[in-house]
């Protein structure tokens, strides 16, 4: 009987560990198994990516449709080359879409906002580029421009 109590205790212990891991996975890290849907890659070149990092969100009208998978330098054009993984079910991005790097809140994280163009245009596929891009807003450049304008007035 005593032995059963011990086994019960160990069983509860194991279960508590498993529950804790599940809670951490789902609630804390937001890991969801349904997210395993396929994705396709599109690219965009930016003058300046600012604080954008891999795993940043890609949004459309504020809704997340994918994530940034890597940021490298395009050696020919000497611009930042951002590779984005877009969820497979988002199959309506047109080739005249524009991508801009936005900031969540005043000091928040950077993310990419995508806006589509005319609906009957060609649809973006794996490996396509978004040509129309707008770079990250760099605070120092803004201040510099502002001071320059002030001085010239």
């Amino acid at each position: 009987m005593r032995n059963r109590g011990i086994e019960l205790g160990v069983g509860i212990f194991m279960l508590a560990g498993a529950i804790a891991l599940t809670v951490l996975a789902i609630n804390v890290s937001g890991l969801s198994l349904a997210e395993q849907q396929g994705s396709y890659k599109i690219y965009a070149r930016f003058e300046n990516v600012g604080g954008l990092t891999a795993r940043s969100k890609v949004t459309m009208s504020g809704v997340a449709i994918g994530k940034v998978s890597s940021i490298t330098i395009d050696r020919k054009k000497l611009m930042a080359l951002v590779e984005m993984e877009i969820n497979e079910d988002v199959n309506y991005l047109t080739s005249d879409s524009s991508a801009s790097i936005l900031t969540a809140g005043l000091l928040g994280e950077k993310y990419i906002g995508v806006t589509t163009g005319a609906a009957d245009d060609e649809i973006l596929k794996e490996g396509d580029f978004i040509e129309d891009t707008q770079s990250s807003l760099v605070l120092e450049e803004l201040i510099g421009k502002f001071l320059f304008n002030q001085a010239s007035e």
């Binding site: 160990v10 212990f13 891991l21 609630n27 890991l31 795993r55």
Partner: protein, 263 residues
């Protein structure tokens, strides 16, 4: 001249002692790991040890996890509210717990709560000649005594770490959301945006596996290698706590540098 030679002898003796202690502990670890388990006898022994090492440590882990989570949320709130970013309390609590505090504090508590008990138990078995008695009747004490205790510690610590993290985050939620009035949605969403399952929780788990190995190894070895007197057992217990705490903190720095240091 005589004094110099004596000092050199003294130094050499210390070095040989230390190195042979490391060697003996390695032998014990190897025996404990490769000891082929006999399912009929080993499994109940393991369950028994999991109970005394793991289950009985749960209370202290849950209580300290809760309080550490609550304190983190309170301190974080006081700092972050100056910048108007008190919603980031969730992510601060979760990241500092999952990456750093849960593995380290759990391992330190575990060394004090379970490691010292293991050392004292094995040391007393040695002092009362139970271990040599076992050898006399043909039972390998490494397989019967050391191996189940070693595995129990190695299995328990990661589980305790996960419980610690989960309870700590719940404590942070209690203070942050229920008491200080942070909006619950942004508490969770900030947390989920910044915590990655494999990079953060997975690395915390790896840390706790390493700590589990080190703490139980030190505890079991100090017990097995203790001087079989009451004084020797008390020294071995002290050594267990001191050595494993130092090993935890040192290894934590190395592991953090490897995992998060972008080396």
């Amino acid at each position: 001249m005589e004094a110099v030679i004596n000092n050199l002898i003294f130094l050499g003796r210390i070095a040989i002692d230390r190195v042979s202690a490391i060697g003996r502990s390695g032998m014990i670890l190897m025996h404990a790991i490769i000891a082929r388990p006999d399912p009929l006898t080993s499994f109940p022994l393991l369950i028994r040890q999991l109970y005394s090492v793991g289950v009985l440590s749960m209370i202290i882990i849950i209580v300290s996890g809760l309080f550490i989570g609550m304190v983190l949320a309170l301190q974080g709130y006081n700092i972050l509210v100056d910048y108007g970013t008190e919603q980031a309390v969730g992510q601060m609590v979760a990241l500092s717990l999952v990456r750093e505090l849960a593995p380290v504090v759990t391992a330190l508590l575990f060394a004090g709560r379970a490691g010292s008990a293991l050392t004292a138990e094995i040391g007393l078995m040695k002092a009362t000649e139970q271990l040599s008695g076992m050898e006399m009747i043909g039972v390998d004490p490494l397989r019967r005594i050391i191996a189940p205790r070693f595995w129990a510690g190695f299995i328990s610590l990661p589980i305790l770490t996960m419980i610690f993290s989960a309870v700590g985050i719940w404590g942070g939620l209690l203070v942050g959301v229920e008491w200080l009035g942070i909006y619950e949605g942004s508490f969770w969403s900030n947390m989920q945006n910044s915590v990655d399952f494999f990079d953060d929780i997975g690395n915390g788990l790896i840390k706790s596996l390493v700590f589990g190995l080190v703490v139980t190894w030190v505890a079991v070895f100090q017990g097995y290698d203790s001087v079989p007197t009451s004084e020797g057992i008390s020294q071995a217990t002290t050594k267990t706590v001191v050595y494993s705490s130092l090993a935890i903190l040192g290894l934590d720095f190395i592991l953090t540098a490897l995992m998060f240091g972008d080396l």
